[in-house]
Structure formats: structure tokens, C-alpha cells
């Protein structure tokens, strides 16, 4: 050890400044887009049209022709489904995370249910609810439920036993135990479950638009795909990506605000 030269023995973790990082975050996609642009410029493959063609279709379709008629309804469904699914996931997770017997009773049925491909259930849901927006929202909500549910259960179960003891000692009521101790303690995990739910909601939003009247980002993209309008399909994919990115950004901002205590306490020790 002592033989180590003085320059070597001190570990220096190179620090990159914040502006540089943001620069990189912008530069990477720009570089990829440029690469895509030039690599596809001469493309004659009907499935991989030149990016210029995609951009043109993007502008024609989405700016802002179908914005109100298709983008907003899709996002409305997404939001409604995600909120319902997420809220139910947290509520159900809180119950199953608290009562072991409830968990034992329902967890297997839930696990069973989760492995069922939605295609099989579509006719039943349609016969119960029709094929309007309710069905779409319901399917999104169901899909969004599970990641949050599981994360909430896991989060509640990983609460430091010490905190459980504290709430017993001070005889916190059931409500306080739940809302003042266990849920806040589990909140980082719930947030990460919600994030997965958000992603799943997106996916199901598109799948749900395979049914019923053909409006929405997903329906248009799928239709373009089925009728070989590949530039339109790519434009749809690009839009989905952009909207997804923006949605996630909003989610992250809200989460970091709500969990400020957590983010700050975690970042502390990792300074440098």
C-alpha cells in the first residue's frame, strides 16, 4: 500500500459539469437524428423511408391537423387510465401490503390474471362496456394497475422494521400508520412503480385503439402500418416517442418535487 505513489493512491472521480451533461443529452439525439437522416437519405426500401419523407409526413399529419382530433383524445385516455390504474394500484397495494391474509388470498389470483393475454378478454370487456372510450380507459387502467400494485406491496413490506416499532410505541392509529409512516416510507418505490405503469399505459393506449372508431395516435399509426403507409407509420412512431418523452419528463418533475426529502437525502452521501 505504502508503495503506491502519491498521485495514484488518491482516487479522483472526474466530475463533469452540469451544462456539459445537458449538452451531451442534447447532442446524442441530435447526432443520432443526423445519422438517421444521412443513412436514410437515399433509401429506396419502402419500409425504411428517408427521414426527410418522415419529417414531411410528420408535419402534414401532426402539425396540427390531427392534434385536436387524435392526439388530445389519446392523451386524455392515457391520463385517465393511468390515474385510475395508479390510484387503484396504490390503494389495493396498501391493503395487500398491510394485511398478510388478504395478500395470501388474492395474490395468486392476481398473478394468474396477469398472465392472461388481453386479446382473450377483449370480447368480454366489449360486451360489458361497448367499444367506446370507457373500454379504452379501463384497459389502460388495468394494465397500469399492476406495476404500481406490486411496487406498493413491496415498498410497504420493505419499510424499516424500526419504523414499524416506532409507530407501535406511540400507538399511532391505523390511519396515521398508513399515511404518516408506511406510505411515505414506501413512496420511493411506489414512484418507481408508477413510472413503469406510465410506460405500460402508453403501450396499452395504443393497443386499445385497435378497437372501435379509428381515432387516436395509436389507431392512425396502426392503420398506416396495415396499409403500408410507412412514412406515416414512422411519423406516428416519432410522435409517440416525443409525447412519451414529454410525459415522462413531467412525471419526473412532479416526482422529484413530491419526494424532495428523498432525493436530497439520497444525493447527500453520494456527493462528489
Amino acid at each position: 500500500m505504502s508503495a503506491a505513489s502519491t498521485t495514484q493512491r488518491i482516487r479522483r472521480i472526474p466530475t463533469i459539469t452540469k451544462p456539459a451533461l445537458i449538452g451531451i443529452e442534447i447532442a446524442v439525439p441530435v447526432a443520432l437524428i443526423a445519422l438517421w437522416w444521412f443513412a436514410s437519405a437515399e433509401s429506396a426500401d419502402p419500409f425504411f423511408p428517408p427521414l426527410s419523407a418522415i419529417a414531411q409526413r410528420f408535419q402534414e399529419l401532426w402539425l396540427f391537423d390531427h392534434l385536436v382530433s387524435d392526439v388530445l383524445p389519446s392523451l386524455g385516455n392515457l391520463l385517465a387510465g393511468f390515474v385510475i390504474g395508479g390510484a387503484c394500484g396504490i390503494a389495493l397495494g396498501a391493503v395487500l401490503g398491510t394485511f398478510r391474509l388478504a395478500r395470501w388470498l388474492f395474490a395468486p389470483v392476481i398473478d394468474f390474471w396477469r398472465a392472461i393475454p388481453p386479446v382473450a378478454l377483449v370480447p368480454i370487456v366489449v360486451s360489458l362496456l361497448g367499444f367506446g372510450n370507457e373500454t379504452r380507459i379501463l384497459t389502460i387502467a388495468i394494465a397500469a394497475l399492476f406495476p404500481t400494485l406490486i411496487s406498493t406491496i413491496d415498498g410497504m413490506r420493505s419499510v424499516d422494521p424500526q419504523l414499524r416499532d416506532v409507530s407501535q410505541i406511540y400507538r399511532l392509529g391505523a390511519r396515521e400508520r398508513l399515511f404518516d409512516v408506511r406510505l411515505p416510507a414506501a413512496s420511493p418505490r411506489i414512484a418507481s412503480g408508477l413510472q413503469v405503469s406510465l410506460q405500460v399505459s402508453f403501450i396499452v393506449m395504443i393497443a386499445s385503439e385497435m378497437l372501435g372508431s379509428s381515432n387516436g395516435i395509436g389507431a392512425m399509426t396502426l392503420l398506416a402500418q396495415q396499409s403500408f403507409a410507412t412514412a406515416d407509420m414512422w411519423a406516428g412512431i416519432v410522435l409517440l416517442g416525443i409525447v412519451g418523452y414529454a410525459t415522462n419528463l413531467v412525471f419526473t418533475l412532479i416526482r422529484d418535487r413530491v419526494l424532495r426529502w428523498y432525493v436530497r437525502s439520497q444525493q447527500l452521501g453520494k456527493a462528489m
Binding site: 424499516d160 424500526q162 419504523l163 416499532d165 416506532v166 407501535q168 410505541i169 406511540y170 400507538r171 399511532l172 392509529g173 396515521e176 404518516d180 409512516v181 411515505p184 416510507a185 413512496s187 426529502w261 428523498y262 436530497r264 437525502s265 447527500l268
Partner: protein, 285 residues
């Protein structure tokens, strides 16, 4: 098991807390480890009792049984003659692992106020209690900080303030002053004596500081051996009110001190016994 007589039968006056033949094991089946063999002692109302004993003997375990956080394996602990089966309303515990017993998402003030929520106090009384407790431990300047922004000793004092604000009838503390400096420690010890008088609290403290045990308490329970038994219960006959300088200067203080030390030594677990008694099965993998 045979020593299980109800506490009331013991003496004319009923003790506040009483421990009768209490035994405790962790684990189940072949991996059971006996931690506490058979403890019997009483704590009268308004008394301060200190529990001392070597590290790992089972003091924390005893407190957990006493506060109903852990079920006992044999015997029982009683509060006012009623067997303790879950945390009794009138009791509070300051945990040894203070860092982990604070809610990281609450500020100091909110941490202290947390147990008061369900007491149906008026907002004014609640604020008053919280402020008073926080001032008593000297943390007025940090009320809006989060626990992870505090030093170890400050966190420990938040945990103490939380239990003070709750104003339990029986206060149980597990090495509550381990991380504070000597000066603050003196102040907190005196605070303990003061609140005992003011609210006629019954206080049980686990400590490693023999001086502290003598200074604070009316009785000292020395635990030893493994599994734990009561090595000795010593009455502390020092005049009240106590004073950090005067009391500690008394010859009786020094006598008490060395007597306890010798009892601890005598109860100390010889390493050889430990080895055979605690042959741990491998687990995990």
C-alpha cells in the same frame, strides 16, 4: 416458569412495572437462541431505574419485551398488575438506533409532533408541547431541518424530544445519551430528573455509563451472564435533588460506582461459554 406469581402477591403496594420470570428466545425450531433466561424485578411508580450490563447481554431485548414490541417466550411483564401484550398506551420508548427511528420525510418539528396527532390535543397545546420538548433538548435552531441534515447527537436528541412531547407515564429509554457530548449529557440527565418530578413519570433507562446510572437512578439493575439473568439489584441511596457536581463528589457515589462495576465484571460472559451456547447454524448461503 415456576416463578410466575402475579406481581400483586409480592408486596402490599403494587409496583408500576414488574417483570416476573421473563424469558426470551429468538428464532424457532433448532435455531432457537435463548437470550434472556429468567428476569424478575420491579419498578415502583415515580422511580428511575437504570439497567446496565455488558454489550449484547439482552438489554434492548428486555426493553422490547417490556414495551410489548416483542412477545415474551416465558414469564411476563406487568404494568399496574396487567400483563403487557402490546405497547401500553401510557408508555413510550426511545430507541437505541435513533437514526433509523426518525422519519426522514418529516422535519424535526413534524417528527416530534407525530405521536401527538392522535391524542386529540388542541392545536395550541400540541404546539406548546412540541416547542417545549424541542427547546428542552436544545434544538430550537433546527426545527425545520430534516433528520438527515442533523448530526448524530442532534438526531438522538430529536428522538428524546419526541418521547418527551408525548408525555408518557412510563418512559423507557435505550442508551439515550450515547451520542451527545458530556456537557449536553449532563443537561439531559438533569432534564430527566426534572420531568420525572414534574409529571411523576416512571423512567427506565439502559445505559453503559455507570456514573450516569448512579447519578440518575433510584435503583440499578445489573444484568449478566448468557442467557441474561439479573446479577444484582442495587438501591441507590443518594440525596435528592441531585446535582452534577455535588452528588458526583459524594463518597457514596464512588462506592456505588465501584460496586456496580464489580457486579458487571462478575456477570460478564466468559467467551468460552458463549461459544458453546451460541453455536449458530449456518444460514443464508
Amino acid at each position: 416458569m415456576t416463578s410466575q406469581n402475579t406481581p400483586a402477591s409480592d408486596a402490599g403496594v403494587q409496583p408500576r412495572l414488574s417483570v416476573r420470570g421473563l424469558g426470551k428466545s429468538y428464532g424457532s425450531g433448532p435455531s432457537t437462541t435463548r437470550i434472556i433466561e429468567d428476569l424478575t424485578f420491579d419498578v415502583a411508580a415515580g422511580e428511575i431505574v437504570c439497567i446496565v450490563g455488558p454489550s449484547g447481554v439482552g438489554k434492548t431485548t428486555l426493553l422490547k419485551c417490556l414495551t410489548g414490541l416483542q412477545p415474551v417466550s416465558s414469564g411476563a411483564a406487568y404494568i399496574d398488575g396487567v400483563p403487557i401484550q402490546g405497547p401500553p398506551e401510557e408508555m413510550a420508548l426511545v430507541f437505541q438506533e435513533y437514526t433509523r427511528s426518525l422519519m426522514p420525510w418529516l422535519t424535526v418539528r413534524k417528527n416530534v409532533a407525530l405521536p401527538l396527532k392522535h391524542l386529540r390535543l388542541s392545536a395550541r397545546e400540541r404546539d406548546e408541547r412540541v416547542d417545549e420538548a424541542i427547546t428542552a433538548v436544545g434544538l430550537e435552531h433546527a426545527v425545520d431541518s430534516f433528520p438527515w441534515e442533523l448530526s448524530g447527537g442532534m438526531q438522538q436528541r430529536v428522538a428524546i424530544a419526541r418521547s418527551l412531547a408525548y408525555r408518557p407515564e412510563v418512559l423507557v429509554m435505550d442508551e439515550p445519551f450515547a451520542s451527545v457530548d458530556a456537557q449536553t449529557r449532563f443537561e439531559l440527565e438533569d432534564l430527566c430528573l426534572r420531568i420525572r418530578d414534574r409529571f411523576s413519570m416512571t423512567i427506565v433507562v439502559v445505559t453503559h455509563d455507570i456514573d450516569e446510572a448512579v447519578y440518575l437512578s433510584d435503583r440499578v439493575v445489573v444484568l449478566g451472564s448468557r442467557p441474561a439473568v439479573v446479577t444484582e439489584v442495587l438501591d441507590v441511596d443518594l440525596p435528592s435533588p441531585r446535582d452534577q457536581i455535588a452528588t458526583r463528589a459524594l463518597p457514596a457515589f464512588a462506592t456505588m460506582r465501584s460496586e456496580i462495576l464489580s457486579h458487571i465484571r462478575e456477570g460478564k460472559i466468559p467467551t468460552a461459554t458463549i461459544r458453546t451456547q451460541q453455536k449458530r447454524r449456518r444460514r443464508g448461503r
